[in-house]
């Protein structure tokens, strides 16, 4: 299961292709590209990898499901999401 940091702890400011995110819990600023903002939105409630893919599929075409796990690992490493 994966869960994103609570929305209240995130300041999300789209700049151009990139989005600036200030994470209140860590005090760390992240500059992120798609799909990170979309993943954070989808993970506002805890989801398994499979359910997350399904959830995203309702809204987007997933170009490459293979990379989804890699993006999640990045999110977890950055602290923007937690693996439960």
């Amino acid at each position: 299961m994966y869960r994103a940091a609570a929305p209240a702890t995130l300041r999300i400011v789209p700049l151009d292709d990139l989005t600036a995110i200030y994470h209140r819990a860590s005090g760390i600023t992240h500059l992120v590209a798609s799909p990170v903002p979309e993943l954070l939105a989808a993970l506002s409630e805890p989801l398994t990898l499979v359910r997350l893919a399904k959830r995203l599929g309702e809204e987007f075409y997933l170009s490459d499901g293979e990379a989804l796990a890699a993006r999640l690992d990045e999110l977890v490493a950055s602290g923007l999401a937690e693996q439960l």
């Binding site: 760390i28 600023t29 992240h30 500059l31 992120v32 590209a33 798609s34 799909p35 990170v36 979309e38 995203l56 809204e59 987007f60 075409y61 997933l62 170009s63 490459d64 499901g65 293979e66 990379a67 989804l68 890699a70 993006r71 990045e74 999110l75 950055s78 923007l80």
Partner: protein, 131 residues
């Protein structure tokens, strides 16, 4: 996804493709502190000798960058030094894999780094008091 349109319920807006990127790629850059960070990394920050602005210059025995090929001066370092290596050199040790005189010259150069040059942030971060 040739059958894509049929997947869209009547009246639904066209779905945007979500680019997940390559497995090896990175979608997050976390901002690292510049000079002010007190406990900046001493294992990950690096110092080039000389720095990019003076790339190719040789380093004289007193640490000043001089034109390439200057007699008695040392060629640029083959790789950047990590903060930890520099810290040990500053503490009187030797930069790794380098003979004494060359290490001394490089160390003098690093000591001369001033604010504004890339290496200075690293150099300075080595010296901050740790609470």
């Amino acid at each position: 996804m040739s059958d894509e349109p049929s997947e869209i319920p009547q009246g639904a807006t066209r779905r945007r493709a979500l680019m997940l990127g390559a497995v090896g790629a990175s979608a997050i850059v976390s901002i690292r502190p510049a000079l002010a960070q007190v406990s900046a990394s001493i294992s990950t920050c690096e110092i080039q000798v000389p720095d990019r602005a003076r790339a190719g210059k040789y380093i004289a025995a007193d640490g000043t960058p001089v034109p390439a090929g200057t007699k008695g001066a040392f060629a640029p370092a083959s790789r950047p030094f990590t903060g930890q290596e520099v810290k040990q050199a500053l503490a009187g040790g030797n930069l790794p894999g380098i003979e004494y005189e060359r290490s001394q010259a490089y160390t003098k150069y690093i000591r001369r780094l001033q604010s504004g040059t890339s290496g200075f942030t690293c150099f300075a971060s080595l010296q901050m008091p740790r609470g």
